[in-house]
């Protein structure tokens, strides 16, 4: 165990030794050091947001053919720090008639709920936060707290548009929770465990190979959970002013954005851990620092995909969002999960390669069936709409002739 191959454990052991030398039992010292480390992790995550904001603005800028932030510091790297300082010194306006307790609690919950997920993320072979045996369930439970913050904000603002945004958020976020939870069930089933580190260790072959449909559903639903374009109905500025955070100012307003940027990255972390093998890679067991690097690189790829989608897709309508979820994603998720369970049981005696092959085949069949039915439905709807338009044209023509006669 040296510093270069596993710095976190090395520093941890060194600190434990230091505390123990002050005359504390070894176990107590270790527990104290872990407790302090656990307390520092949210701080690091909060600071990491500064990098995320810069990265996201730069990428979105590039996608839209403009340079992005490039004035403050090299490549505009100091821009988020300047923005943070500015927003930190802005006045907090408390509008008349707001419901004070939920109003002030909302930004705290929006950030705290997202930060809370970081504790179960396995960063490398030796550093995996707290490895509880219900990690996946914990992520779902804590992830829902952020939603609560947005609902509080919209509900307590004494603003009709914010209230409308809160309704939309309730409808959208709880709907997309269903395919997300069902898609998350597939890696849990494949790993036979809810512990995040166990799920990662069960992936010498990434789960995205055995469960491509579940991975796709999880990815799209997690974008909807963050409430980003194309699912950013809660802040549709052309319809409901600024959405749920219209009445917020100063750092309270900023906290919602901190929560959003962090949520997007956290979901990429979780996606990587669940479907892309987490820290797994050549040499990750012997040199845990390599695990960090693999995990980080995979996460950046997933995160970049999310930003690219944000930068290039127009916004859905509320009815489209709902129908996409309940009429497409939920049935696919149910089918994909049932198929995965059946294949796992029936092909249990086959080798790994054969079983994964069957998994891929079954996923392809489900996707094919969905595409076939979908194309039929769209064709039928197109014919129906054409007929409707034809009838309207005829009616308009008739009424024009009548008015001409009289």
């Amino acid at each position: 165990m040296n510093f270069l191959s596993d710095p976190v454990t090395f520093i941890g052991n060194w600190l434990t030794g230091l505390v123990a030398s002050l005359g504390m039992p070894k176990e107590t010292a270790a527990a104290w050091v872990t407790g302090v480390a656990v307390g520092i992790l949210p701080l690091l995550a909060m600071l990491w947001v500064l990098v995320l904001i810069w990265y996201e603005r730069k990428v979105i800028g590039r996608l839209q053919d403009r340079p992005g932030p490039n004035r403050v510091g090299p490549f505009g790297l100091i821009q988020p720090v300047a923005d943070m300082l500015k927003i930190f010194l802005k006045e907090h306006i408390l509008p008349a008639g707001v419901d004070r307790i939920p109003y002030n609690l909302a930004p705290i919950l929006a950030v705290g709920g997202v930060l809370g997920m970081w504790i179960v993320v396995p960063f490398s072979a030796t550093v995996h936060g707290v490895d509880i045996n219900v990690g996946a369930l914990y992520i779902i439970a804590v992830g829902a707290i952020g939603t609560l913050g947005i609902i509080f904000a919209g509900y307590s603002s004494n603003n009709k548009y914010a209230l409308l945004a809160a309704f939309r958020v309730v409808a959208q976020l709880i709907s997309y929770e269903i395919p997300m939870v069902l898609a998350l069930l597939v890696p849990v089933l494949l790993a036979r465990s809810m512990g995040m580190n166990t799920i990662v260790q069960a992936q010498p072959v990434w789960f995205i190979l055995a469960a491509p449909l579940a991975a796709l559903l999880f990815f799209i639903s997690s974008i909807a959970e963050v409430g980003r374009s194309p699912f950013d109905l809660a802040e549709a500025e052309s319809e409901i002013v600024a959405g749920f955070n219209t009445e917020y100012s100063g750092l309270k307003f900023g906290m919602f954005y901190v929560g959003e940027f962090l949520h997007a990255f956290t979901n990429s972390l979780i996606f990587t851990a669940l479907f892309l093998g987490g820290w797994q890679g050549p040499g990750a067991e012997q040199f845990p620092i390599l695990g960090f690097i693999y995990f980080f690189l995979k996460t950046v790829v997933v995160h970049f995909l999310g930003i690219a989608i944000r930068g290039s897709m127009p916004r859905f309508r509320i009815d489209q969002v709902m129908q996409l979820n309940w009429k497409l994603f939920t049935p696919i998720a149910l089918a994909a999960f049932s198929a995965a369970a059946l294949v796992e049981k029936l092909a249990a005696n086959l080798g790994d390669a054969a079983r994964i092959g069957i998994h891929i085949l079954v996923n392809a069949v489900i996707l094919g069936v969905v595409l076939l039915i979908g194309s039929r439905v769209f064709k039928a709807r197109g014919i129906r709409l054409d007929a409707l338009a034809e009838r309207n044209r005829a009616a308009v023509k008739l009424s024009m002739e009548k008015s001409h006669d009289s």
Partner: protein, 118 residues
């Protein structure tokens, strides 16, 4: 195992406390010049009319109801998935039957028009 939950407790307290402390600190540092004009709610830029607690679509309520059923029933599937190796073929088929009943509920809600946004 129990100590893990203690760490999670510390972590949750710190992660809720961090934004709270930041907001309180900013509230102390920021200027405070309240005025009656400033504290009028912004809404959409013009003066607000009538009650904020307007009537809303019953559709949101229906979606909430369907969600409740689905979410609770999918959470039941988690222990089933974890104990998968210890289940016989019969228990697996039983689980699939459970999903089938769930699908029945989905089809029922669909036919009733719970997902139509009209």
């Amino acid at each position: 195992m129990t100590i893990s939950w203690l760490y999670i407790g510390i972590f949750l307290v710190v992660s809720l406390g961090l934004p709270a402390v930041a907001i309180i600190l900013a509230g102390i540092l920021a200027p405070k010049k309240p005025s009656p004009e400033k504290s009028i709610i912004y809404e959409c830029g013009v003066d607000t009319h009538g009650e904020t607690w307007v009537q809303f679509k019953a559709q949101y309520y229906l979606i909430g109801l369907v969600f409740l059923i689905f979410d609770i029933e999918t959470v039941f599937l988690y222990p089933w998935a974890v104990a998968f190796d210890r289940l016989g073929l019969f228990a697996v088929l039983e689980g699939l039957l459970f999903i089938g009943i769930l699908t029945g509920g989905l089809v029922y809600a669909w036919k009733k028009g719970a997902f139509e946004w009209a």
